[in-house]
Subunit: 320 residues, 2 copies
C-alpha cells in the first residue's frame, strides 16, 4: 500500500527554486493530498468586487503547495504524476484583469464574475441567462524545480512544467514532467473548476480545492517538455496521449509538440518517423493549451488513444 | 422542394477569380451534388509510388468543382453552405512532399502511403501494424471568389474561405462564408477521408469523392472570416459553433478567432462583450485548423453548443 501524506493549506511557497527545502519526502508509488489555496492566497473571496481587483497584492500570486521531494528522482528522469482527484471549493471566480490576457488592448476595465459551484451534480456551473459551463476540474500548475540556479516566477510555464494550464489534466490523467534536480521538488497550485483551451482572458473558474496526486518515476526518460495521458472529460468520450511544445512563439511551440509526438510514436508503436509524421497529419489534434502566461505559450499535439486497435479477445471455449 | 443539380467530374477550374463564368445558377435553398476530383486532377492513383511524386505537374493541383452562382448573393452577405454528405472514394493517399509541411526542413524525402477505404463500417481506415485512423470525411476547400481583381492560387485560404482544411466540417455542418462578389461564385475541392488538426505533413487522407451541399443566404451578415457549426464527428458527442482567424501569424489568427466569437456571443446570446470574453476563457476550445497552407494559417475558437441550457419541456397535462 502506498503511504498517504497531506500538505496543508498553510504550507506553500511562491517561487520555483531548486534551493527550496522540501516539506515532504516521498517514495515512488506514494500518494499525496494537497490543500490548494486560492491563486491570490485567499485575497479573492465570494464577496470580492471588480473594484477590489486593483488592490490585489500581486506578490502573493500563485501559492505553490509543496515542494515534495521524490526519493530516487534524478535529472534526466521523468516524474510521473497521476491526477487521482481534483475537488474544487463550492465557489470560484473569473476576472478580466487590465494589462493581462489575449485581448488586453481591447479589454481595459477590470471585471469579476463569482460562480456558485454548489449543486447536486456539479457537472455544470451556471453563468448568466441560460448559459451553463461544463466543469472539468484540474490544476493549472503542476511542476518541478527548474534546472537553473535562482528563483523563478510561476507565471510562465517551461520545461519544468509549472503553469501550463492544460484543461485536459482532469482526474484520471497522468503527466510526465522532466526532472531537473535531485528529488524533483514537485509543487502544484491554481485549481480550475473549468477552463477553455487558451484561457484567453487570463483566468479560468479559479478556486481553492483539494487535490490528490500519486507519483512515480521513469528513469532516464530524456524528455524535453512534459507529455500526458488525458483523463476522461465531461462531454468527451475518448482519451488522448499528448505532447507539448512550450515557447514564446506559437509556431515553434507547435513544431516542438509535433516533434515530441513523432518521437513518442516511433518509440512506442515501432513505426518509422515518416509514418509517425503522417499519423500526426491524419489523426492528431492540435490545441493551444494556454496563450496568456507570458512570455511562454503551450501547444499540445493530442493523439486519440483509440488509434490503437485492440485485439479482439478470443474465447478459449468454442461454441458447440 | 429544392431543385437538385449536379456538377460532373469534368467540370472544374484551377484558380479563384471573380471573372470566372459560373457553370451553374442556383437559388437559395437549392442543393448541389459535386463530383470532386482527386486533388492532383487524378495524377495520383492507387498504383502511384513515392518516386512518382517528383513528376507531378503542380499546375494541376486543386481542381475546383464550380463555380456556382447563387442568385441574390451580394457583397456583405454570408453564403450559408450546409454539408449534407461527403462520400470518399474507396481509396486515398497521404504523402510527405519535399519543401512542404510543418517540418519540411526535417522530412526531406518524398514518401507515400495508399489507404484502402473499402470495408463494411468505414469508420476506421487501417494504417500500419495495429493502428487504425478514425474517418471524418469533409472538403478541405469550400470557398467563394475573393474581392480582388485577378486570379488567385488555391493554396492559401483567406477571407473568401477556400483551402481552410477544417476537419470539423463533416456531414451535418454548416459554414458561413463572406460573399465578396455578386452571385458569390462558390467552388469546392480536396475531399479528405480523415485529417488531424493542422494537417501537419501537408496531406490528409486525400481522395476523390462525392459531395452534396445545400445553399442559403444571410443578407448583410458583415462577416470578416468564415464561421461554422460543426457536424457530428465519430468519437465526439458534442457539436460546436466556431469562428475562424486566418493570418500568416498564429497569434493574430487566434486573436481574430476570439474576437469573432465575442461578437457572435454578444449578438446571439445577448450578453456583454466582457461576459463573452470570460465565456471564451472558461469554455472555448482553441484549435489550429491548418498550419501548412502557406502563407496563411487558420485557427478556430470553438464553443460547445451544450453551453446553452435547453428549457425543460413541461407537459400540458398534469399527472392526476
Amino acid at each position: 500500500m502506498p503511504r498517504s501524506n497531506v500538505i496543508k493549506k498553510d504550507t506553500f511557497h511562491y517561487l520555483w527554486s531548486k534551493s527550496h527545502k522540501p516539506v515532504l519526502n516521498i517514495k515512488p508509488g506514494d500518494r499525496v493530498h494537497f490543500e490548494v489555496n486560492e491563486v491570490n492566497s485567499g485575497q479573492i473571496s465570494e464577496k470580492t468586487t471588480a473594484e477590489d481587483l486593483s488592490k490585489l497584492d500581486l506578490s502573493r500570486l500563485y501559492p505553490l503547495a509543496g515542494p515534495v521531494y521524490v526519493e530516487g528522482a534524478e535529472p534526466g528522469d521523468a516524474l510521473i504524476v497521476k491526477v487521482e482527484s481534483v475537488k474544487p471549493a463550492n465557489w470560484g471566480w473569473t476576472a478580466v484583469i487590465p494589462g493581462l490576457g489575449l485581448l488586453d488592448q481591447e479589454f481595459t476595465n477590470p471585471d469579476l464574475f463569482v460562480w456558485n459551484l454548489r449543486g447536486a451534480s456539479r457537472r455544470y456551473a451556471r453563468f448568466v441567462k441560460n448559459i451553463q459551463v461544463p466543469l472539468n476540474p484540474f490544476c493549472g500548475v503542476l511542476g518541478v524545480a527548474p534546472p537553473e540556479d535562482g528563483s523563478f516566477e510561476v507565471m510562465p510555464p517551461g520545461k519544468h512544467g509549472g503553469n501550463m494550464d492544460i484543461r485536459h489534466l482532469t482526474a484520471g490523467s497522468t503527466i510526465m514532467i522532466p526532472v531537473w534536480t535531485k528529488g524533483a521538488l514537485f509543487s502544484t497550485a491554481d485549481v480550475h473548476a473549468a477552463q477553455g483551451d487558451g484561457e484567453v482572458c487570463v483566468t479560468a473558474i479559479e478556486c481553492p480545492g483539494d487535490v490528490t496526486l500519486s507519483f512515480d518515476l521513469k528513469k532516464d526518460a530524456d524528455l524535453e517538455t512534459p507529455c500526458y495521458y488525458s483523463g476522461r472529460m465531461f462531454g468527451s468520450n475518448t482519451g488522448y496521449f499528448a505532447t507539448t511544445g512550450i515557447s514564446p512563439d506559437l509556431m515553434e511551440a507547435t513544431k516542438q509538440s509535433v516533434r515530441g509526438m513523432i518521437s513518442f510514436l516511433e518509440e512506442n508503436l515501432g513505426i518509422t518517423r515518416t509514418q509517425a509524421y503522417m499519423l500526426c497529419s491524419v489523426a492528431g489534434e492540435l490545441r493551444i493549451h494556454e496563450i496568456v502566461d507570458r512570455p511562454n505559450w503551450v501547444v499540445g499535439m493530442m493523439m486519440p488513444r483509440s488509434l490503437i486497435k485492440e485485439e479482439r479477445k478470443t474465447s478459449s471455449r468454442r461454441r458447440s
